[in-house]
Amino acid sequence: MIRRLILDVLKPHKPGVVEVAEALSHLEGVEGVNVIIYEIDQQVENAKVVIVGSSIDFESIKKKLEEMGATIHSVDEVAAGKIIVEEVRTPQDRSARM
């Protein structure tokens, strides 16, 4: 039962973010969508897509994105289960950064 999904998506300029976000939000099990464009090229743009829901079906998300002409570059975060577990910082993370 996926509750939160963070994707790195490559998409053409058209359909725009409004249309993509709207299409994803209409999918079953999805309660909220956030699409942020963080890079724009001549032909394509990169978007960070955050999807929150009660029971997100990854395959239907992938299919919808492909239908809109977009491709998933990477799945950056998945939160599944009864509650959403946030990322936890550990001492190792701190030392790794140093």
């Binding site: 359909p15 492909e66 809109m68 491709t71």
Partner: protein, 195 residues
């Protein structure tokens, strides 16, 4: 998704609206001008049989409609295919079955339909007085006058439409288009006089 909603979506994604507007105005103007030429030619040749004008007009409408459709469809298809290929290269994926590919194919068809229908429709509207005349509603001379007036009106309305698109003076744009129509009419009449 409803059919009309789908079409609206394809038009939005393919951005075919400005192109089809251009095609519509250019070709409707062509259609009206061609029939204007046929009608004034018929007047100059002192033709008393409306079926000559009707059949010439219908032949021209069909030819313009078909050539418009095929020409615009093939040109647009080639251009859009090129654009889609470039996009596929950037995306490193095939887009044929995506909404982008579908919108691209729809845009070619839409441009073809607009390019084919607009001249044929304008020509048919200008021919209406002759259809009515053939049913004995009025004399052929009245049909000629009415048809010329209709062709000029179509030109004026196309100008008004252009004015509306550009958010400028609609009457001025209408008058500009009408002026072109009047020049064509004037040249024809001068040819007839100097004959």
């Amino acid at each position: 998704m409803k059919f009309l909603e789908k079409i609206r979506r394809y038009i939005r994604i393919s951005e075919v609206a400005p192109i089809s507007r251009r095609y519509f105005i250019m070709n409707a103007f062509d259609g009206a001008t061609t029939v204007l030429g046929i009608v004034i030619g018929a007047y100059a040749a002192e033709i008393t049989n409306e079926s000559w004008v009707i059949w010439s007009g219908l032949g021209v409408s069909l030819a313009m409609g078909l050539s418009g459709f095929v020409g615009a469809y093939m040109t647009e298809e080639a251009e859009r295919e090129k654009k889609l290929n470039a996009l596929e290269k950037s995306m490193l994926t095939e887009l044929t079955d995506s909404v982008v590919g579908k919108a691209s194919r729809f845009a070619s068809l839409w441009a073809g339909i607009v390019d084919g229908v607009s001249p044929a429709l304008a020509a048919l509207v200008c021919l209406t007085p002759f259809f009515l005349s053939s049913h004995g509603l009025f004399a052929i001379n009245s049909a000629i006058q009415l048809s010329v007036a209709m062709a000029l009106s179509i030109m004026f309305l196309l100008g008004v439409f252009l004015g509306k698109i550009s958010n400028r003076n609609m009457l001025f744009h209408g008058a500009k288009m009408l002026f072109v129509g009047l020049i064509i009419t004037f040249i024809f009449f001068m040819l007839k006089i100097t004959q």
